[in-house]
Symmetry: C2
Subunit: 349 residues, 2 copies
DNA sequence: CTGAAAGCGCTAACAC
DNA sequence: GTGTTAGCGCTTTCAG
């Protein structure tokens, strides 16, 4: 495969000149430039990026670690971040862990090996080794929720509390008094604490419930395991017939999907018999029938924050920051006032 | 950041030995090995992958180009391919083009720059420059549908015809006589021929219709633009009130989602008033209500084929091959016999 | 079993 | 404006 020397020879210039042309650096006389471009064309020259990055000693790349490439919400985040990164002339290396800690650690290892300028860890699962590694290498990083800001690490706190509070309040105001919270547990081989955002969303729910308890609100929590939809279904298997409720809040949209399906399968109509609220507001929500009320996490904003933190840290040596990302409730068709009890099918079997 | 020389010095060995330990190559005495491992630990050494790959002169990486990271179906494919690749100790570099030809070309450029061993192009859009570049570099490649096998390029022909035929036949046998085919057009800035799989699926539909024409089957085709669901909705806007039909086949599941939504919004019940068939059988199908009948493309099998072609080509110099991937109809709840005409709401407004 | 040293292909001073 | 050249950090013969 042709290399820079071949091009240089053919264009009768030095490798430095070729490099200058390729990287649009310095000033090259237009005639020389032409010759180089011609040679590149003829030889189908494509710079070896390993050599280039090695020589440069730094990269304009950001790492992005996600939990589940099959969840459209993660896809949307990846897109938002990539867009933001491209605007600043960074590329992004994507890794999907599928909720495995081992994959997480090896993804980070690979990113460090690739000498990315910074890394964003937007995964559900977490592992202490990650922080260790990043610190040891003084690698700029931004996390979601994992709250220990330092010189090199930033944290974006998503306002789960606010979002869930709004959801609970909305349901309460509609007249609901018994709300079921459905959680998922992506990988049973792992400790529950591994999935921080699950814990945080759960706590947020509990806290919100406390506030409405005096108003007569009752809550239950049920957990299913496996990938989102499966977890939602499984959780509903457990809940139906044992727990009485008029509304469900799912911890994430894919989980809501499972709940959705499960309710219909039992002849429970949404929102007539039960109201359903999702979390993340992925684009799917709009297309379900009934469309799904969901707590929105502004992806574009998240993308900006992530890239901004990283770039500031890298380019201006600014220290890590703690940022908060607001959430909002997007009301759609899946929520409505509960039916009067006497008209309601008994949710207990 | 610590490099191999630092480790070597600390362990009082040569860099060659460190390399041997890191790559588990050759035999290193266990005492020496320990010292090296210790040093690595102490210094938090992570090999620079640019240097490593540059020195090695080849990589164990495969490139994968997809059109839309937000479509779960692509995610499933990515996962299948990654799994298959990992089994053979290759990693995969992922790129998502979002249906843009320019992105496609630059993704390929990047893969070549990264000297991947081979590349799989599973995107909807195509560009002649891609083939040029790949040929010029004698880069092993596998395409989906783009049928020009050569020494280095393989092609996996997905049996759209068979799949769509099965769908049409199934609907016909149920009693449907007027079927609407809904297509999407992801990016109107681009020529229609750019989206090969769309053309192929459309042709497959037309061909199937021909065969049932004598039986009294009538067909219509309508096209929407934009990302899947949007296209589906838009297409239905056009069709409703102008075309009469009792069943819809959507060109892809996300499109079906838009159709789904649009039909409900007009008070048309699935499958009571209209039957709906999707394409790709993404995991969502199962979770809609009613669950979606869809043509399955076996992802796992696709992943195997892709990686197998590439690896054989790379490691055994086997020439490119033409493979066929079978499809099947997965029947779920969204399809049923049509209602007798006299009971049916008139689909014309 | 281990070390010395020659690259891998490119970039970035620095000299002309 | 252009060329020379010393690295970048690692792998891999080839001796020892």
């Amino acid at each position: 495969m042709a290399n820079i020397a071949d091009v240089a020879k053919r264009a009768r210039v030095s490798t430095a000149t070729v490099s200058a042309v390729v990287n649009e650096r310095g000033t090259v006389e237009s005639g020389t430039r032409r010759r180089v471009l011609d040679a590149i064309q003829k030889l189908n020259y494509q710079p070896n990026l390993y050599a280039a990055n090695l020589a440069r000693g730094k990269t304009r790349a950001l790492g992005l670690v996600l939990s589940d490439i099959m969840n459209p919400f993660f896809g949307e985040i990846a897109l938002a971040i990539r867009q933001e990164a491209q605007a600043r002339r960074y590329e992004v290396l994507l890794a999907s862990t599928q909720f495995s800690k081992a994959e997480l650690v090896s993804a980070i290892r690979r990113m460090i090996g690739m000498r990315v300028a910074g890394v964003a860890i937007m995964s559900t699962e977490m592992d202490p080794r990650v922080l260790e590694m990043l610190c040891a290498h003084r690698m700029p990083a931004v996390f979601e929720d994992v709250g220990t800001v330092s010189e090199t690490v930033s944290n974006i706190r998503i306002d789960y509390e606010g979002g869930i509070f709004k959801a609970v309040k909305y349901l309460f105001d509609l007249g609901h008094r018994r709300i079921l919270f459905v959680r998922s547990y992506p990988d049973t081989r792992q400790d529950e604490s591994a999935f921080l955002s699950i814990c945080m969303r759960t706590q947020a729910f509990q806290k919100a419930m406390q506030q409405f308890k005096p108003g007569g609100l009752e809550a239950a929590i049920v957990t299913g395991s496996g990938p989102g939809p499966k977890a939602g279904q499984q959780a509903m298997q457990k809940a139906l017939g044992h727990v009485d409720f008029t509304a469900v809040i799912a911890i994430a949209d894919p989980v809501a999907l499972g709940v959705f399906r499960s309710l219909w399968a039992h002849g429970i109509a949404i929102p007539r018999d039960v109201s359903l609220v999702g979390f993340d507001n992925s684009y799917l929500c709009e297309y379900l029938y009934p469309s799904l009320t969901s707590v929105n996490i502004p992806r574009q904003r998240l993308g900006q924050m992530v890239v901004d933190c990283l770039v500031r840290n890298v380019e201006n040596q600014e220290p890590g920051r703690e940022l908060e990302l607001e959430t909002e409730l997007i009301v759609r068709e899946s929520t409505a006032p509960p039916r009067p009890a006497r008209n309601r099918r008994n949710a207990r079997l």
